[in-house]
Assembly symmetry: C2
C-alpha cells in the first residue's frame, strides 16, 4: 500500500514525495524532528511534542513554517487517510533548500516540512514488553547538544547496528563512565523503591515520554532520583527499562550479557507501562 505523506503543504503519494538535493536537511543535517505515537487512531501527547519541536527550532534559530493548530490538523489527516490505528507520525523540519554554504541561507528561504506515518500494529500490546530487551554498551560519541532533536542520527544508527550484530536490541551509550541514554530512548534503573534516571542537561534528549513517566511515577508515590548512573550500577540494579514515544516503557533484562535482577521484566517497569498507556490514552487527541 502506498502511504500518503505531507511535504510543504501538499499531500502526496510517498513515491512522489521528494525534497531538493539542495535541502539543508540533506546536505548539512540542518533539521529537527519529532515522532508522535498513535493509539486507537489518536495522538499521544501531541502538545508535548509541539512544545519540544518549537524548542529545537528556537535553539537552532530556525523558522517554524506551521502553526500548532495546522500541525495537529496535518497529523490527524495523515492518520485518517492512512488508516493508522497503532503507529506513529514522523515530522521533520529543515532550514530549507539553498545553494550549499555552511552559513545559513537568507531569511526568505522557506523551511522544509515533511510528515509521514508508520503503521505499527501491536504497539501497545507489545511482545517485546513481555519478554524484555537486551542492550549492549557503547561509547557515547555523539555531538554535545543532544537536547536538540536534530537529524544527526548516524551514531545512534551505528549503535543500533552494533547491538544487532551482538544479538541485542539496542545500545546504551556511556560517557565519562556513566550511561547517557539509549540510541533513541531514555534509560532508567530501579534500585529498591527508587527509580533512577539521568538528570536533564545538554547530554541527553529531554524525552516527552520521560517527563510523563516521571510525573506518573511521583503521582503513584514512587521515589524518583534524577542523577547519572554507571553501567555497573545498572547491571546490579533490580530492574532496568527505557522510555520513548514509540516504545512507551520497555523493560531491559540484560546489559552486556549480564542479567538485570532475575533477567525478566520487572514489576516497576510493567506498572509504569500500564499507567503510562492508561493516562496517555485519556488525553490522546
Amino acid at each position: 500500500m502506498t502511504r500518503t505523506v505531507y511535504v510543504n503543504g501538499q499531500y502526496l503519494p510517498e513515491t512522489e514525495a521528494t525534497v531538493s538535493i539542495f535541502d539543508r536537511g540533506f546536505l548539512f543535517a540542518d533539521g529537527v524532528y519529532e515522532v508522535t505515537s498513535v493509539l486507537g487512531g489518536k495522538l499521544l501527547d501531541f502538545d508535548g511534542h509541539a512544545i519540544r519541536l518549537q524548542r529545537s527550532l528556537d535553539e537552532l534559530e530556525m523558522k517554524n513554517p506551521i502553526s500548532k493548530d495546522d500541525l495537529l490538523e496535518v497529523h490527524r489527516e495523515l492518520v485518517r487517510v492512512n488508516n493508522i490505528d497503532e503507529g506513529l507520525v514522523y515530522l521533520q523540519i529543515t532550514r530549507g533548500a539553498a545553494d550549499r554554504d555552511f552559513a545559513y541561507p537568507a531569511d526568505d528561504v522557506a523551511p522544509t516540512i515533511v510528515l509521514f506515518t508508520q503503521a505499527k500494529p501491536g504497539l501497545a500490546d507489545s511482545a517485546k514488553a513481555k519478554e524484555g530487551m537486551k542492550v549492549i554498551s557503547i561509547e557515547d560519541q555523539r555531538w554535545g547538544r543532544r537536547d536538540i532533536k536534530t537529524v544527526q542520527l548516524l551514531y545512534p544508527s551505528m549503535g543500533k547496528m552494533a547491538a544487532k550484530a551482538a544479538g541485542a536490541d539496542d545500545a546504551w551509550m556511556i560517557e565519562d563512565g556513566h550511561v547517557t541514554e539509549g540510541t533513541s530512548n531514555n534509560a532508567y534503573i530501579v534500585k529498591g523503591n527508587t527509580i533512577i534516571t539521568r538528570q536533564l542537561s545538554n547530554d541527553i534528549l529531554h524525552g516527552i515520554t520521560r517527563a510523563a513517566v516521571l510525573r506518573f511515577a511521583k503521582e503513584a508515590q514512587m521515589n524518583v532520583e534524577e542523577r547519572a548512573f554507571t553501567l555497573q550500577e545498572a547491571q546490579n540494579a533490580d530492574e532496568a527499562f527505557i522510555t520513548s514515544a514509540s516504545t512507551f516503557v520497555m523493560p531491559v533484562v540484560e546489559i552486556d550479557g549480564v542479567a538485570v535482577g532475575r533477567g525478566v521484566p520487572g514489576a516497576v517497569a510493567a506498572r509504569l507501562r500500564e499507567i503510562y498507556l492508561d493516562e496517555s490514552l485519556k488525553t490522546a487527541i
Copy 2:
C-alpha cells in the same frame, strides 16, 4: 542560469533534482561527501578525494554506487556542461531511501549519489588570501568520528554563523584546551621555521589539501611538527593559516581579536599557497 546536476545516473536541471523524503541522508545524516576544486576547468587531486571517499564509505559499511572511472567522468561532464573554470564539484553518497528505521536497510537498497558544481570565480587569485582571515574560537562539540567525512555538519554550520556574528570569517574549534580544526578546514601555526598542525586521528578530518601541503612543505625543506597546539600558542605564533580543498592555503591574521604575528598574511602561508597551486595545477586532470 540553471545548473545541470547529477542524481543517481541522470543529468538533470537543478530545479528538478530531488531525493526521496525517505533518503537516509535526509532522515539520519547517513551520508558522506567530498568537495573537489576546479581550476582552469581541471580537477585538483581527484585521486585523493576518490580514495578518501572510499575510506569514509568503508568506515560506515556503505556501498559505493560508482566506479572511480565513472565518477571522474561525471565530474568532468558537470564541469564541462556548467562551464566551470574556477569552482568546485560537490559529491554526496548516502545509504539510500528506505522506510525510516535506525537499523540500516536491506542490502538491495541502492545508495543515493548526487553531484553538483559551484562556480567560484577568483578562487585562485583570492582577495581573502591577500587580506587574511579572522577566526574566533568555539568549543568543539562535534561527534567523535571527524575523520569520516559525513554530512553531520550542523555544528560547523553553527560555528560559521557564530563567526559571522562576531565579525570574523571562521571558527577554530577547541577540545581539551587544544585546537582541533576550523569549521571546514585544517588549522596550522608557524613558529620560527616550524609548521605545526594537529596529528591525524579521529579528532580531525584527514584533509587532502593538508596531506599535499605537508608534502610540499617537506620537499621545500620546511620543518613540520604534527602535534596539537593551544589557542594561546596560536595567538603567540608568527603565522597561522588553514588549508582546505576550496580555500587551498589561506592565512589567518587574527584569533579571538588578537593579531597573529604582525596581523598580516605571513610569508610561509603565502609561499605554501603558491607551491600548492603550482604543484596541484601540474597534476590537475
